[in-house]
């Protein structure tokens, strides 16, 4: 595959651009960490 064939500008599914998808992954991760924090606080 040559560089000209690269679909680098393809949009990700369900999001307008890749930055939104990256942000979604990181926000979901932050949400999971918040859950971990709440579990730790509730049961420690």
């Amino acid at each position: 595959m040559s560089s000209s064939e690269l679909p680098e500008n393809d949009k990700p599914p369900m999001f307008k651009n890749w930055n939104q998808l990256y942000a979604f992954v990181l926000i979901m991760h932050a949400f999971i960490l918040l859950l971990f924090y709440l579990i730790t606080q509730a049961y420690s």
Binding site: M1, P12, L21, V25, L33, F36, Y37, Y43
Partner: protein, 574 residues
């Protein structure tokens, strides 16, 4: 093991292999064999990445980790989603643009041949050792719990993996991994549901968590920083990010998985899929272990989970001492069980009655741990070379003794699947690196594709047999598993440093990064020696970050000191 379990186990494994090969069309080119047809969709890539990382020991050891140490091991993975995003943004487009087979090919175009060969060699040493352990580690546990022959267990796992990896190459690896991950996740979810069902009637999920929390097992996040604390938030988010950048970005066993994607988009989505699901998956596996812990607060667990150690002790001169410890253990367990029921009966979790019951349970739990430690001491006295850490045996002990017929077979299929999924990726990656970075690059440059295909298959068999040989002799070495894990931490940082310089510091040349990597590696080895000699104490996870930063700063220092300067690299086409 019941006949039904044998049927479930053998049918599941046969289905996975046959389906994987059936889905793989005839492979008649080297590229097809090593990289598949580069037609995989994101979900196959994502599952393949997860299956490569999750070895059998993950599913044996992780629940045991939660049993003994609580949920804090989850922090080990919190850098992973960050690493996935960084790789998707910066690294994947470069690999795709250069159309590489291996991560190390890129290093020759960016630097020079010696840097490529150095990194590829480090990978072959690390993975070559790890492949044997990936087979040996679950085999030793299964053989001692199930009473199977260790040699046959090793041989069967190895033979099946070599068979389908040689038959279908990279695509067969990815296809089987997809089925293997589905079996693994379904099996673990089923185990979780059954454990909840097997808890006493008055113990629901909320009570189970109260019990686990009362015994300090729900310590998922720990924000207290300490260099020698292996699992805390800071080591996870900083040390872990470096580790996973290195593992997923530069380890060919992972790079090969996502380079098999149909397009850059599919590969990116596969990596992000892993970033989204990996932390919850590890949490779930740990949580299964936590529920096994709660289950064993009401059903008496063995005083030591490794039957082989216990049987040896029962026929030794320490038999009397063991019997006395067992009697004490029984008394403590009965008292603790009563206290547990008192604890869950208290409705007001802030009341003095609740705190008193909790304190009593903690005291009894500490006594129980002391007795278990004494048993380990006896095992060591009886056989100084025995492995006394029994946490890897906790989950499989529970599976074999408490799960219904048929489900035992399915859970054993989970363990076999995990062993095979990570081994197949390793063999595929080892064959690819030895073919592309050594055989085709240094030895036979202008052969026909048919020749390279044949040699690639032979190299897969070679690495498979080497892994089997290593697994066969693994028992001769003490603490081998730990040794291999440490070797990984010792080299990953330097390799990552080379790639960080390659990606982000465009002015630095091959000789400068090569010198920096060699010096950094020597310094990391010196730090490790310092830890080993107890001069100071640093958790292994930090060695990844230290190695990487050393390469970057030494290379920068050489550049500004004008040492090792060389012309731009010659682009090498393959």
């Amino acid at each position: 093991m019941a006949t039904l379990d044998w049927i479930v186990l053998s049918m599941t494994l046969t289905f996975i292999v046959v389906y994987g090969i059936w889905k793989t069309k005839a492979v008649d080119t080297m590229k097809g064999f090593l990289m598949g047809e580069r037609d995989l969709k994101w979900w196959t890539i994502g599952l393949s990445i997860m299956a490569t990382q999750a070895s059998a020991i993950t599913f044996l050891s992780t629940p045991g980790q939660a049993y003994t140490d609580g949920m804090r091991f989850a922090q080990f993975y919190i850098g992973l989603p960050i690493a996935m995003v960084i790789l998707a943004v910066f690294v994947l487009p470069i690999y795709y643009r250069l159309n590489v087979f291996t991560a190390y090919q890129y290093l020759e175009n960016r630097f020079d041949l010696k840097t490529r060969v150095f990194a590829a060699l480090l990978f072959l040493v690390q993975r070559g050792l790890a492949a044997g352990i990936t087979i040996y580690a679950p085999a030793i546990i299964l053989s001692s719990i199930m009473g199977w022959s260790l040699s046959w267990t090793v041989l069967i796992i190895g033979a099946i993996v070599i068979f389908y990896t040689v038959m279908g190459g990279s695509k067969a690896v990815s296809q089987t991994q997809q089925s293997q991950m589905i079996i693994i996740l379904s099996g673990m979810a089923l185990a979780f549901i059954i454990i909840l069902y097997k808890l006493p009637e008055n113990i629901d999920l909320s009570n189970a968590m109260t019990i686990a929390g009362g015994l300090e097992k729900l310590n998922v996040l720990d924000f207290e920083f300490s260099w020698d604390n292996r699992y805390n938030f800071w080591s996870g988010i900083f040390g872990g990010t470096f580790l996973f950048l290195s593992y997923f970005g530069t380890d060919q066993s992972q790079v090969q998985r996502y380079l098999s994607g149909k397009s850059l988009t599919e590969s990116r989505l596969g990596l992000l899929f892993n970033g989204l699901l990996k932390v919850p998956m590890q949490f779930m596996v740990l949580f299964v272990g936590l529920m096994v812990f709660v289950f064993f607060q009401f059903s008496k667990p063995p005083i030591h989970f490794n039957n082989v150690n216990l049987d040896e002790l029962r026929t030794s001169k320490y038999e009397g001492e063991l019997a006395q410890l067992q009697s004490n253990y029984d008394d403590v367990f009965d008292a603790k069980k009563i206290a547990m029921n008192e604890l869950v009966a208290v409705e007001d979790k802030g009341s003095q009655q609740f705190i008193t019951a909790k304190t009593k349970i903690q005291s009894l739990h500490a006594q129980e741990n002391e007795i278990r430690t004494s048993v380990k001491g006896l095992i060591e006295q009886n056989n100084p070379s025995a492995e006394t850490n029994d946490k890897d045996y906790v989950f499989v002990n529970f599976v074999v003794n408490y799960l219904p017929k048929g489900i035992v077979g399915l859970l054993l299929a989970v363990i076999f699947s995990a062993a095979m999924s990570s081994t197949s990726s390793e063999l595929n990656a080892l064959a690819t690196t030895s073919m592309i970075d050594f055989y085709r690059r240094l030895y036979r440059k202008d052969e026909e594709d048919k020749h390279y295909l044949k040699v690639s298959k032979l190299l897969t068999v070679f690495w498979g047999l080497l892994a089997l040989a290593f697994a066969a002799f693994a028992s001769l070495f003490d603490n081998l598993i730990q040794a291999v894990n440490i070797i990984g931490s010792l080299f990953y940082g330097s390799i990552l440093g080379i790639f960080v310089v390659a990606f982000f510091l465009k002015k630095i040349g091959g000789t400068q990064v090569f010198i920096a990597a060699v010096i950094a590696e020597l310094l990391v080895l010196s730090i490790f020696a310092g830890v080993h000699l107890e001069v100071f104490n640093i958790a292994y996870l930090w060695l990844n970050a230290i190695g990487c930063l050393l390469v970057v700063f030494i290379a920068l220092g050489l550049y500004y000191a004008n040492i090792g300067k060389q012309g731009p690299p010659k682009i090498h086409y393959e």
